[in-house]
């Protein structure tokens, strides 16, 4: 699965982590809610090309980390709601752990300088 890196897109791996994190807190959410949640939490620092969320969600569906079901929004609109699976939870733990190790290491290096 070669991920294409675009200038205005954050690395897909990180995007997964953000989505996993968002869903692990929020239970069932549709795409727009996820996008909003990520922006809100990160205080608009992470400028995501909003649409790239959807290919990422497709990939996660394929991996079996999330499942999706069509439902109705508060505004009475049809929307697809995503929910974390057990595999997704496990994946979140793994990715989070990995991220912490890497970012911790990078931080140490930067502090030394």
């Amino acid at each position: 699965m070669a991920a294409r890196l675009k200038r205005d897109e954050i690395p897909p791996g990180t995007l997964y982590l953000l989505i996993l994190r968002t869903l692990s807190r929020g239970g069932e959410m549709h795409g727009y809610e996820i996008a909003n949640a990520i922006q809100r939490i990160s205080d608009d620092v992470l400028q995501v090309e909003e649409g790239s969320l959807y290919p990422a969600l497709q990939r996660m569906l394929l991996k079996g980390w999330v499942t999706a079901e069509w439902g109705v929004t508060a505004g009475n609109r049809r929307a697809r709601y995503y929910r974390l699976t057990a595999a997704g939870r496990k994946q979140f733990a793994v990715e989070f752990d990995q991220y912490r190790r890497v970012s911790g290491a990078i931080e140490k290096v930067l502090q030394m300088a």
Partner: protein, 906 residues
Amino acid sequence: MGWLGELWRRFQFLFQNDKMAKDLADEMHLHLELRAEDHAAAGINKRDAESRARRAFGNVTQLLEQGRAVWGWAFFEALASDLRYGIRALRADPGFALAAVGSLALGIGANTAIFSILNAVMLRSLPVEDPQQLVQLKSGTKGNFEGGYTNPIWEQIRDHQQVFSGVLAYGGNRFDLANGGESRFANGIWVSGDFFRVLGVPAVQGRLITPQDDRHGCGPDGPVAVISYGFWKSHFAGDPNIIGRSFAIDRHPFQIIGVTPSWFTGLDTDHVYDLAIPIGCEPVLHTDQTALAERSWWWLQIVGRLQPGGSIQQAQARMNMIAPEVYRATVPANWSPDMQKDYRRTTFALQPAATGFSNTRNQYRIALYTLMAVVGLVLLIACANLANLLLARAAARQREISVRLAVGAARSRIIRQLLTESVFLSISSAAAGLLLAFWGSRFLVRLLSTTNNEVQVDMTPDLRVLAFTTGVAILTAVLFGLAPALRASGVHPNQALKESARGTISGTSRFNPGKALVILQVVLSLVLLVTAGLFLGTLRNLLTADLGFKTGNVLVVSATVPEAKLSSSKRLPLFDRILERLRDIPGVRSASSSFGTPIQGWFWNEYVYPEGYRPKSEDDALVYFNRVSPDYFQTLETPLLVGRDFSSRDNLGSPKVMIISESTARQFFGTANPVGKTINMDAPHLRHGNKQDRYEVIGVTKDIKYGKVDEPPLKTAYLAAAQDREPAPHIQFEIRSGIPLASLASPVRAAVAEVRPEVSLELRSFDTQVRDSLLQPRLVALLSSFFGLLALVLAMVGLYGLTAYGVARRRGEIGIRIALGAQRRSVVWLVLRDVVSMLAIGIAIGGVVSLLTGKLVTKLLYGLQPGNPVTIALSVIVLAVAAITAAYVPARRASRLDPIATLREE
């Protein structure tokens, strides 16, 4: 497990492709709407809100594609669209598609067909246990090793070898299943007791032959036979109670004790065995003289199984340690001391036997390899043709490709598109070729069979054949697809678009791959034409060769009497009575009998001691014999040059007489009159001691072809049938008829049955017998001519294509020339000039190459040399005429161009 689930989901999505795409689109649109609504709620006007939402979202179409690409079928979708595009492009040009697929299919089909046969008879391993461990025992002196063994040698080896984990002997034979009358033959094998055990073949019914059954004169169960699965099904209709059933083999009852599995068809790859009987039962069938004690009857093949871990070299060395003892114990007593000395020096040579035995293989080895090379060349020509067609096509599509490159298509994408097209072409050709081969190889094998010798080869295409075809197809695709693809996509779009549609894209460089390909085709076609010409010349020489006898309207009747019932002393009168009856049949002009007819696949030679002649070498005194009745020469229309024919006065009581051929006379007596001279000969067989018989020469006949049409003149001689003290139980009758042979068959059968009903008969026309012997040269000539013509046609198509393409490219130039007053003839020449120069180069190279390749097939030629000038000249003329005709059509069209119309296009 994770990947399994993923695969499952991927599959689900494959079938819900449209729904998934719609879901994704719906979701994205919802996102855009919600975002726009939020913006609107924040007080931004509606249109700005929407465009802002879009900007933040990114390229919807691309994201949709990305989303769908996640499911991983994008590659196939692109492939499908490439294929659709390619098929559409091909359908737009059906002539091209047909020429391409047709020529490639013929090339691949021919290769697969010949390879299937090659594979079946030469490469495929026998379906027995560990065939790699099997070795064939060959023996000989002075480095000349052969495979035949006498039974005494076999028994020595069987009883004394400790080299192999098992050893077996077998000999092929044709057995008669009929009880008198017209014979019905089955393919049989004599097998040693260990035959099936050594091969690891089990029984599917009953039991198989054991060493117990293989005792001299049969074992405790009497004469027993094992039959093949196919024979059980066809001859006994798969009778479930087959075990214990008895049936006649050469008129002796044999009891069936077992059936072998369907996968075992014997050790011969070109014959399927029907029945197997123990070697030890041979005396039951041959009461006159059993082969078991014969020290100079070479009728068995020996196969050993190497011990685990043992090498073939070790086994050979150890076999050669026991060789002196084996051969000392089996010396033929009636041989001359010199020959006995040679015999004792015999050594063994071992040879892998995993691929089994095949007469076809030995007989057709060179022919099959030659044909393989021929069809390989045809495939090369077909590929060159396609490369040429595709080059021309790619050049014609240059503009289209340039446009695609200019609007941003990646070069790799264009190459992929073009390659998809050529791979598609080659795979459809391969499929068509496989069908052709499937049918063609069966047809070929049928051609190989003669009335007397049905060839049965297992032609099921196996993995090797499939791999071969697929390999050829892919190689071809890459070969003829890649070059044009690289070339077409390598041109800078800017340059291509600047030039006009029929620009100078590929015309500027001196080296033109299209021309090189045409020269290659000319070379290969010439080689194939010369080869075909040589084989055709050989066939013509064989068909018109002076045989020394006339085969037309002669019926040959092979008769066999039950030897146990009819001792040899009673046979002469019986044969005489039959001959008399045959002569009385209305329409019979002349009839005779003989030991054997010419070109029948047997020989009988003896050393003779002519009066006053001193042989310079051993073979100088070797003469090929036959034993014939009076009127034999008249029936076969062999001219008697000097002296008289045998007559009824030459009998057991009168002095022994001999008729010799002119070569024999010349060799032994020079220019002197041979009539009245004497020739001495060793008396037949051991029982007469080393006594010599004295024969008087009474006549000289014209030379005849004795065993084969293409043999050098042999020294031949004839003895009188009536002076044979111990006639064999079989005899040939020759009947020259004034009426059609077909209407002669039933009166002949009736006449023989009247004299003695249990005589078994086999009828065939003498013509067929001789024609069948020319099967190989006929086939080789037929196939090589077919492939030669195919090559010629392919080369013509290629040349036509290239010339037509060249003319199309130079329309403008030609139009200007005509407008300026060029003669039509000079325009034709302008176009043909190129072709003639390519032709000249090709013929020069091809001439040299065909001289060299001709040398490779010398063994298959008769009556002409590889460098035969007439053949080469004829081939060159045919090729030149064909090539110029192919090029003349577009050249003529060029000369008819309307200059006004052409120039207006500029």
